[in-house]
Every structure is written in C-alpha cells, then in structure tokens.
Amino acid sequence: MKEIILKELKSELLTPRGYLWYILTSVILSILSYLFLTNIELSLLDQSTMIFFLMEAVLSLGILHSIIYGSDSYAGEVERGTMEVLLLTPIRKTSIAFGKFAVSVINWFILFLISIPYILVVGKSGKNISVAITYLFILGTLIIMIVTSFNMILSIKLKSVKNAVLVGMLVFFLLGTAIILPPSLKHSSFIRYLDIINPVAAAVNSFDSVVIDSEGFRRQVIRIVVILIYLAAVILLLKRASQRDELVTGAR
C-alpha cells in the first residue's frame, strides 16, 4: 500500500496540477475571508457565523477535490491505459484501492492545514475557534472518506472519469442541500427528514450546532453515528468493488 501512496502522491498531488489545486483553493479562501471581514453587511455577522460559513466552504472544496480524485482513481487509469500495469504489480487489489483512498485523505489533510490560518483570522476574538477546527478535522475527514470511497466505486463501476465526476457532482448537489439551500428552505419538514439520513447535512448541522449554538458533544452523537454508518457501508462496498476481475476493461 505504501508504494501506491508514494506513486499517487508523486503523480497526483506533488505535481504542478496538484499545486495549482492548492493555490486556487487558497485564493478562494483568501477572497472569502476578506469578503467575510470587510464586506459591508457580512462584516457585521458575528464571528461564529463567519467561522461556520468558512467551515462550509472548506468542506465543499474538500468534497470537490475528493469527487474528482475518487472519480479519476480507477477510470483514469483505464482511460490512460495504465490499469493493466498497475494490476500486474505484486500489490493486492485491496491495497491499491486503499492506497488511492489514503492519498485522497492526505489531500484533505493538506486542504485542512491550508484552511487553519483563515479560520484563525476570521474567528479572531470570537468564540469556539478550537471547537470549529476540531470538528472540521474530524467530521470533515469522515465526510471526505465517504465521498472518496463512493466516487472510487463509481469510477470502478462506470469506467469513465467524465461519468463518475458527473454522477458524483449530482449526488453532491443532492447531499449538499444543507450547504446550498437558503436558510428559509431548510426549515421545511421534507428537508428536515432528508437531513436525518444525509451525512453531509449531519456534518454541516453539527458545525452549526457546536460553533454557532455552542452545543456540546452529546447533541452531535446521532449525527456522528449517521456519518459512521455511511462510512462503514461505502468502505465495505469499495473493498468488494476493488476485488472485481474486470477492472482493466474499458468503458461500457
């Protein structure tokens, strides 16, 4: 698995393309932070609301990276014609899958590290900064693991980067209702029911709960359980999908 991680780090993250992702992510966070703190109306939001908005933005960027990375993981190898070579190496299929999975999580850790100075500066003199960073790290990592696994499964099943990205994005729009919808629509009972079974909403509502409402861990337990159930399910499915024999065949 170590070989796969090193290979992926060198070919995916530590490349001009990978650095460009981080530079653009940093530019987006710079613009958002500056807007939050200087824009006439937004600058008058309280500090915890601004931290919450920034956490949503960081999580969304992380999810976007994971969708693209997860979608490219297998289908990209097939499209580039490198899948056979990879499968001929004496590395177990499960190790290949979880090596690629680990690189996506490392990518999230880098994004998270980039976001810390922004959270600190936006939340300066505010409350719940350490709580915000802790929850963003823990729940963000779990969500990134779910999204990566799901998109890797799509990548294996669809064998097309384009289709996997498209389906991944559509699913994100469905799950991202907690981030995308305006606050007035979030109060509808349908959205509330949807939020109960939606792992992304569980994470976002947990951010809201701990950062804006200063609620404790006990209020987050059910949300974390929902996230962990999804994580266990997608990891099992990824393990099963990665062991299929027809991984090298082209798009259907």
Binding site: L29, S33, L37, E41, S43, L44
Partner: protein, 172 residues
C-alpha cells in the same frame, strides 16, 4: 339663557374631545440617534392604556424604513438582529408597558423607526411618532489583520511549489 346654552355647548364639545382621545397611545424614545455601522443601539417604546377597561393581547412591533434619497425602502429587521415584536398580555387602565428594541446597525444611511401597536378589538393600528436614525459608514480595509493571510497563503504555496521544483532539478 345664552350663557347657559354656551356652557352646555362647551360641555358637549369637551366631552366629545375626551371620548375622542385615543384609548391607546404609543411613544418612542429617543427621537434621534446618530450611530456608526456595527454599533448596537436601543429604542424604548411606551404603550399606555388611556381607556377605562383593561386591554388584552396587544402586539407591538418595530419598523425601520430607509429614507435616504433615492433608496427609500422598508428594511428586513432579521438582518439587523432586532427583536421584531413584543406581546403585551394585559394592560390595565392608565397603565403603561415599556419595551426595549435593540438593533445592530448594518448599513449606512438615513432611517426612520416607529412602533405600531395592534389591538385585535380595534380596526386601526396605533402608530407612534417616528424617531430618526442616522448611520455613518465604517470602512475597514484590514479587519482582523486579514490581508497578510489573504495574500500570504497563496504566495507561500507558490513558493513551496517553486522550491520543490528547484529541489527536484538540483537532485537530477
């Protein structure tokens, strides 16, 4: 006889004046506030029952209207973190109920603020006089020292990228 008729007429006019006096009055103070964006200000309203019978279930609410020339529009108080309504369960005759209305000033301009009281037994709501509110602009170019981070982080990542490239070339 003329004198008597005059006194009688005067009495009738006076009694009509007393009856016509509003049974509810509402006032707002202060009448003028000068503030800056970001300040939290407070108005106080006073609802008085001038009638002979108690009043139940009165609702008082605050309204904020921008009157800056060319930008006249009622404001959504949710954005101003203001308490929007206050319910007065029971107001005895000759009694008053005061309420405090705080709000965070989020945009500059000229505004008027007034309080409206609604009594479910009366067809017309009772409105206070308007209070003037002038909000000055507050310009912040580098709040929380955000500029070093906003410019520094992308530059730092570019420097790491360039250093990694130079390191790789030197190793070759």
């Amino acid at each position: 006889m003329k004198k008597l008729l005059f006194i009688l007429f005067a009495l009738i006019i006076l009694s009509h004046t007393v009856l016509a006096r509003d049974s509810i009055t509402v006032s707002i103070k202060p009448k003028h506030i000068d503030g800056k964006m970001g300040d939290v200000i407070e108005f106080e309203s006073n609802v008085t029952n001038n009638g002979a019978s108690p009043l139940k279930g009165l609702v008082a609410y605050i309204s904020l209207i921008r009157v800056t020339e060319g930008q006249e529009i009622p404001m959504d108080l949710e954005d101003w973190s203001a308490q929007k309504a206050d319910k007065i369960d029971l107001l005895a005759p000759n009694d008053s109920a005061s309420s405090k209305w705080s709000m965070r000033l989020i945009d500059s301009g000229d505004y008027v603020v007034y309080i409206t009281v609604v009594d479910k037994n009366q067809k017309t709501p009772i409105v206070s006089e308007v209070a003037e509110l002038k909000i000055a602009r507050r310009q912040q170019l580098n709040p929380n020292n955000v500029l070093p981070i906003a410019f520094g982080m992308p530059v730092l990542i570019i420097l790491i990228f360039l250093s990694a490239g130079i390191y790789r070339r030197l190793r070759r």
